[in-house]
Chain length 636, copies 2
């Protein structure tokens, strides 16, 4: 029963086969002009009539014969008997050839006096000035903009022929439930085809999503047959891996022809392409990030090739904030968060777990690492394609360090002020390195009480090289998190999960053991290291260990018991020059805000007596001037 | 009855009053996730449950207890009796803590043999790996993207609260007919509010457009009262100038308060702002380009300030192709066409006639000239805001010269190949200057027969300084266009319209007069100059003159009679280095294409024997290699 992928084909090869193995369907539809925004014109649009159709007045005034006005001046005013009162847009009767503005006339009984001659055709809009009957308004291939719609309406064009494609989408998987149904454990909401439909309909396609098909070869074949008959393109979701219930490849082969299965693209390796009734059938991998990649890198380009509305693709050149590895031989696509620090753009790569959709949600771009590349060092120059409006980059703050759940609340408040906080998890050493590299705006860190910081071995070596300031978010208790109650006198009786060396949690753990005269060798799980305090809590919650050291906040957010051991300050550490960045000034004003403090207080895990206090090692209290917030939303 | 604007207020002042005089409505609505693309989140979205909810398998294989696998190797295989067969996504039963890939097992009856120990938690996705119950998915202010929708669906979020605003739109004007009704002469299709609705609904607003209100103060007041009652913002279109039937300002004043009337913005001067029931009422000028400017520069920023979805705004720095004047004291907005020539971006300003909607349709951007600026010289550095996808700039070709109607057909064919031709009208001297400045890709020119070109006084002075090539489009007859028949022996009996000095049409006219022994002083209208051959034909069509010199094509497209006088070549003149630009190679292949030739032949106004021939003054025939077209649409 063990199946493996056929030999993988390359990204470029797969795209080439996709584009060249099928006829371009060239499907079009008639759409109302009022619903044509963003659609691509399939048939050139010509004006039905001239605009204006006849000569009309460009001013409010009187239509006159210009030859009647010859010689008019202040000294020799002319009184006109033949004229027509016209407002802007009125027809200029055929016997007249000029309009005099009402401000330049003196009305008296049934006549108008003027004191300046009118040039022939002055203030007259000639027929056809905007467009002449039969002339081209919009060519084939033009993507309709809002202001084009004004012109189309003016020219009497109420509907137009737009490019489209009919796409049949088949979700498969016995574990799936449709959106709106609460999944039982082991069930998953079918979301990939929802995402596909939204993405592709924004390009002008019409998608028909079938009901979820369970893992049954006959049902899948039947669904494929129906979809291929009714559509220009079929997308079948999931069942594309090599498990015992992955029937998609077989079903395509049974109903039509399987062109390839497996591409050297990550995420997205299980992608497949088939042909049924001459139509392309794309097998979308089940993992969300793999599905996204196949949609973005294969399906979207195919529809663009077919002439549908392109998906905008803006890129920005950044320096890589942290090293990024890549599998040789695979084209990899990695979510990235981009921000400007000083005069430079930095990109922070995000998790590549193909199931972690939050890494896409939390990023504002992605990068493409070509197959021959094994990875990049930090500070490598990288092209990042943006998934947000480029203006949002300027509003992005990059935090690299210890990510406490309270940062989410700060991020939510900041978002309302137009600041987007992107966080990357790093230990204290990683955070300090980011500050040194100047590749983050701020490093959130859990640190010992401020008075002890001079002795702190994470910070000390950098004191001389960087002028750092510490913005206090809150103090919080560190201690032992566990599912069942732990006795401090029986630390060697449970299985632990530990943090990496040189992290505050690790040092606290070592100190704790030492105070109980225990050596690491006597502690089960001491060598079980995870990367972040959050991972400690998650591991305990998941039953991978009985206990570990983390903050009270993390313990509570994971529904764990908590035994306090020490108090630490949660600080935003940054270079002093950051205090000149208006975005940081806004951020600090938010940390000091009553709204944020209320959040901290409500959570119960934090002490807020020092919240918002800014210190450096040389000065115990730094005051910064917080101007009235510049963000418009704040004025409401 | 003469009304004038109150003193104009500045652009910045008007924006400030608009933003600060009204409460932010803060209106929200519940939308289905499947219809939430591009919408702005009004209430933070939190996960309803953890994803995954329990530990699940990340691979197809068997779930095992890792401690059972200790010691397994090729030499000492271990046979497992306690296991569960799992596929990717299946629940890992609580008694197991690892998954072994099916490829790494050997099945035998009811057991599996393994040859390598499993690390605890290998290939297990812990509960909450993607997101934990109650954690923030999307913060307030986030604009929903297609791939966010996948995550929302996965997390069981079927609808969300999005920001919106209710906008009441009132079209006014007795001369208006609704879209779908053919306007009689002097009538106009009401299009400004159609455009407004499309533009603002794309931001997430809901617009209610009233029926057209005729120019009656009572009806307008009633419409304003209703709209202000039901909406957060009222837009009233037209009636904002100073004509006898411009009742809008008065009506606002009668029902509420008029805050200002008239801004120092062009186009857009008659804009007004009022307040009714505490709601903003924006008076949109009737002229389409003025309405566009007020929508884009005032209404869109107000809605963005209210938190609705921003309209993307991308800018590019260009060199100005031709001088651009501006009124001191007015913030001016000018449509621009941007293209890349060599390594430089050039911007060609387009017509600013406030009624010529085609100048917006034909442009791909616009520039903002601040109030204190009187204008810019050619080659000035200019910021242009794009109205198309930035990728389209690369596909834009700028032509500056004599614009014959056949270029529209070439433009339409080129558009299908991904090339957008933007044309700017210029006389031969202007065209030559553009070539010298290298600010156009090609200059379409009407020139004397090629054999005579060495003697041609337009070209000759530049022969030594530029290496020009001439791509023949067609030859065409030049002659006398008129509404009524003209006798060549009675040229002094009709009224003429003339072209500017140094244009081929002017020279031909002079030669024609001279051959009939006529002096300009004997010709009525000789001094009536217009800028382009198209304007000559339009002027005759509009009855401004009886006759003029233009091409057979222009005469026919304006339904004029035509009396041939001489034959000219219509050539695309360009620098020789342009032949290396792949876009120009594609363009030339289109000029040579049977499709384009068929268009020329069908029109009847052109002779195509030399169409597509490329020459320079030193070589009578230049061959260029046209590779198979690179555009994908061509492969279909």
């Amino acid at each position: 029963m063990v199946k493996r992928y056929l030999s993988l084909i390359t990204f470029d090869e797969a795209l080439h086969i996709l584009k060249t193995s099928f006829a371009v369907p060239g499907r079009t539809e008639c759409v109302s002009v009022t619903r044509s925004l963003g659609r691509v014109i399939a048939t050139p649009v010509y004006a039905h009539y001239s605009v204006p159709e006849v000569n009309i007045s460009a001013m409010d005034g009187i239509a006159v014969k210009s030859r009647d006005t010859i010689g008019a001046s202040d000294q020799t005013p002319v009184t006109l008997k033949e004229f027509a009162r016209v407002n802007t847009g009125n027809i200029v009767p055929p016997q007249f050839d000029a309009v005099i503005m009402i401000e330049d006339t003196w009305e008296a009984e049934d006549t108008f006096q003027i004191r300046k001659a009118a040039a022939p055709w002055q203030h007259v809009r000639p027929a056809g000035e905007d467009i002449r009957e039969g002339r081209l308004v919009l060519p084939t291939g033009h993507q309709v903009r809002a202001f084009d719609i004004g012109a189309l309406a003016t020219f009497g064009i109420a509907d137009l022929n737009a490019r489209t494609a009919h796409i049949g989408i088949i979700p498969t998987g016995s574990e799936l439930v449709p959106l709106g149904v609460r999944p039982a454990p082991g069930q998953v909401v079918e979301s990939n085809t929802v995402m596909a439909q939204v993405l592709l309909e924004a390009m002008g396609a019409h998608c028909t999503r079938q009901s979820i098909v369970r893992d049954d070869p006959d049902l899948i074949q039947e669904a494929l047959r129906t979809a291929a008959q009714e559509n220009d393109l079929v997308i079948i979701s999931a069942g594309s891996s090599a498990g015992t219930r992955d029937y998609t490849a077989g079903a395509i082969g049974a109903v039509g022809e399987l062109l390839f299965h497996g591409v050297a693209v990550k995420p997205g390796k299980p992608m497949m392409l088939g042909k049924i009734r001459g139509k392309p059938v794309i097998g979308l991998p089940g993992y969300p990030l793999a599905a996204q990649t196949v949609l973005r890198e294969f399906v979207v380009p195919l529809l663009e090739y077919w002439g549908l509305a392109p998906v905008p693709k803006y890129s920005v050149n950044v320096k890589l904030a942290t090293p990024l590895s890549s599998d040789l031989g695979f084209d990899e696509f990695v979510p990235v968060s981009v921000g400007r620090i000083g005069t430079r753009y930095w990109g922070m790569a995000r998790s590549r777990g193909t199931v972690v959709q939050m890494s896409t949600v939390r990023s504002n771009g992605y990068t493409h690492i070509p197959a021959p590349v094994e990875g990049y060092d930090a500070e490598h120059d990288l092209e990042v394609f943006l998934t947000t409006d480029p203006a949002n980059i300027e509003r992005t703050l990059i935090f690299s360090g210890a990510i406490d759940p309270i940062l989410e609340e700060l991020g939510n408040i900041a978002h309302d002020q137009g600041l987007f906080i992107h966080t990357g998890s790093a230990g204290n050493t990683g955070a300090i390195l980011s500050l040194k590299r100047n590749s983050c705006h701020a490093a959130p860190m859990s640190l010992p009480a401020f008075s002890l910081m001079q002795d702190c071995r994470f910070i000390q070596p950098y004191l001389t090289s960087m002028d750092l300031v510490f913005v206090n978010i809150a103090s919080q208790e560190q201690g032992i998190a566990s599912v069942k109650e732990i006795s401090p006198d029986a630390l060697d009786e449970v299985c632990w999960i530990n943090s990496r060396k040189d992290t505050p949690a690790r040092i606290l753990f070592d100190a704790l053991l030492s105070s109980h005269n225990l050596t690491p060798s006597r502690i089960r799980g001491y060598d079980n290291e995870v990367a972040t305090p959050g991972a400690v809590a998650a591991a305990i919650r998941a039953g991978q260990a009985d206990a570990g050291i983390c903050s009270k906040g993390l313990a509570e957010s994971h529904d764990l018991l908590f035994l306090p051991v020490a108090e630490e300050q949660y600080e935003l550490v940054m270079r002093r020059e950051m205090l000149n960045d208006p975005r940081i000034v806004t951020l600090i004003s938010l940390v000091k805000s009553p709204e944020f403090r209320a959040h901290l207080d409500r959570s119960g895990a934090y002490c807020t007596t020092q919240t918002g206090r800014i210190r450096s090692l040389s000065s115990d209290n730094i005051e910064i001037r917080i101007p009235p917030a510049c963000n418009p939303l704040n004025n409401s």
